[in-house]
């Protein structure tokens, strides 16, 4: 087991290093993408701060609390982009025949497809987000260690849930050789996680908790830190992530079993 983990660690490091080198080769392009990502982060954060120059609370949340929701969304979103970036090119990987090579390599094809591309730019962008999270923590009243642990655990749980979504998209690419836009639907719908789920009307809130669990990914960790998430919801969150991963892996295996090579 340990040897296996070491092997995958080595593969990840090697492919991550290659991805970083590629991005550093295209300096102007990478700078543009990096600046764009920073603009998106800074403008939205400035918007939240500017809003609180005019109001005390939004949906009952203070500035620090609203910022916490926004930053948690960014943490989960960026972690997913750093770790699962390969899915963005899943359809191309299949249609150009690279997936055939993945299948004959002594490594999980799912790992190769989902995890072996690292967006170095998000690795850079996540640093200011972590700093801002630290600043928000400092502005919150003193909270027990348990709350911070719950926040960390549910944030990791959210990344696991996002992993399941990415596996599903990769499986769709293998099964249909299409669905390139499926990942972009996820990204667009994730936009709704920028704000606490409480701002939405009841039916939308329900949908974001049970049907498209954006709330579980972005709102629940922050609520756990603020002490307003019941243990039952935390348990639901963990169970949902476990079920989503199990189902997505099953769908992936089924898709690979049906795969008949599509490139040549």
């Amino acid at each position: 087991m340990r040897a296996r983990a070491r092997k995958y660690g080595r593969i990840w490091l090697r492919t991550a290093s290659m991805a970083v080198q590629a991005q550093l080769t295209y300096r102007l392009g990478s700078l543009g993408f990096l600046l764009g990502k920073m603009i998106r982060l800074v403008f939205f954060f400035a918007f939240v701060i500017a809003i609180f120059n005019h109001v005390q609370t939004v949906a009952g949340y203070s500035l620090a609390e609203t910022a916490l929701f926004f930053l948690t969304f960014n943490l989960v979103d960026m972690a997913a982009q750093i770790l699962f970036r390969g899915v963005y090119g899943a359809r191309r990987t299949v249609t150009e025949g690279d997936f055939d090579f993945y299948l004959i390599q002594p490594c999980s094809p799912l790992f190769r497809m989902v995890c072996s591309t690292v967006d170095f730019l998000d690795l850079v962008t996540i640093v200011p987000v972590l700093v801002m999270v630290g600043m928000v923590f400092a502005r919150l009243p003193p909270l027990g260690l348990g709350r911070y642990l719950a926040y960390g655990a549910l944030t990791v749980n959210a990344v696991v849930l996002v992993f399941a979504v990415h596996v599903l998209v990769a499986a769709l690419a293998v099964r249909t050789q299409e669905m390139e836009n499926a990942i972009w639907i996820y990204r667009d719908v994730m936009f709704m996680g920028k704000f606490p789920v409480d701002v939405y009307a009841r039916p939308v809130r329900w949908a974001l908790t049970f049907a498209l669990p954006i709330a579980v990914m972005t709102t629940f960790p922050a609520k756990a830190l603020l002490g307003i998430l019941s243990p039952a919801w935390a348990a639901y969150s963990v169970a949902l992530a476990a079920a989503a991963v199990a189902l997505s892996l099953r769908f992936w295996r089924g898709s690979v079993a049906l795969y008949t090579s599509s490139s040549s």
Partner: protein, 264 residues
């Protein structure tokens, strides 16, 4: 002119044929507008007005964002970059047509479909808006809005064309285009009214063409400016358009002169 109409007609059919892509694009747009609507709705609560906007006006602003995003920000920048970088543009350069005119025809076809879809989405959301939306009774406000929005759409077309033209000199123009698109959307007021920002930032932005893309047309429709002021703003917008159109054409000509048909 006839050849551009034919290009428009074919592009319209192509856009309608790719129903899943269109649906996914619209789902993304709808998610953004639903998020913003919910956020502003929660923020307004029972307040009669915020930043000088009544509840109905603010809701109209949010809904108009969806329409103007479809009408102004639907562009072909990424395709242009791809066509130049891959050398596919060669086949257009030898044809007896203007690439700008051809692009504009294709752009209009996309806009037609997206604007119609956005109207349907806005109509559905408007149905649920508590307190109604603001619709001006004065026909002049509608006319001025239509004129301002049309100029905004052309302004975006030429600005994006300029940034895309960088592909003649570098294969990395995707980064600057990404950065430009994101900055533009924030600076144009396509996520929130610029009134939220501090006065100094607003003054700075008002000296740029960006607010004329969304913020100005919406304020004209919401009758936040007098007819005389609206006419002045539209004249400034037209001047920006003329400047960017001339610059984009000049840059394109220089680009074509230095074009080496790489990959073509």
């Amino acid at each position: 002119m006839k050849k551009y109409l034919v290009a428009y007609s074919i592009a319209l059919q192509e856009t309608l044929q790719r129903r899943s892509t269109l649906l996914m694009d619209r789902v993304g747009g709808f998610a953004v507008v639903l998020s913003l609507y919910s956020f502003w709705s929660a923020l307004l609560g029972d307040k009669p007005s915020f930043l000088g906007y009544t509840r109905a006006e603010m809701m109209s602003y949010v809904l108009l964002i969806n329409v103007l995003r479809a009408f102004v920000f639907t562009g072909r920048g990424w395709q242009t970059v791809s066509e130049i970088s891959s050398g596919r543009i060669s086949s257009y350069l030898v044809r007896p047509l203007s690439y700008h005119g051809y692009s504009l025809a294709l752009d209009l076809a996309q806009k037609t479909v997206h604007v119609v879809s956005s109207f349907v989405e806005v109509a559905v959301l408007a149905w649920f808006v508590r307190g109604g939306v603001f619709l001006p009774r004065d026909p002049a406000a509608w006319l001025l809005f239509a004129l301002s929005a049309a100029l905004a759409s052309l302004l975006f077309f030429f600005m994006e064309f300029m940034v895309s033209s960088l592909a003649f000199w570098t294969s990395e123009s995707g980064g600057p285009l990404f950065c430009f698109d994101l900055f533009l959307q924030f600076a144009a007021g396509a996520f929130f009214p610029l009134d939220v920002l501090p006065a100094a930032v607003r003054r700075l932005l008002s000296a740029t063409p960006f607010p004329y893309m969304v913020y100005v047309p919406v304020r004209v429709l919401l009758e936040k400016v007098s007819h005389a002021e609206a006419a002045r703003l539209i004249a400034v917008e037209a001047a920006w358009l003329a400047a960017f159109a001339l610059a984009a054409v000049a840059l394109w000509r220089r680009g074509v002169r230095s074009y080496a048909a790489e990959g073509g």
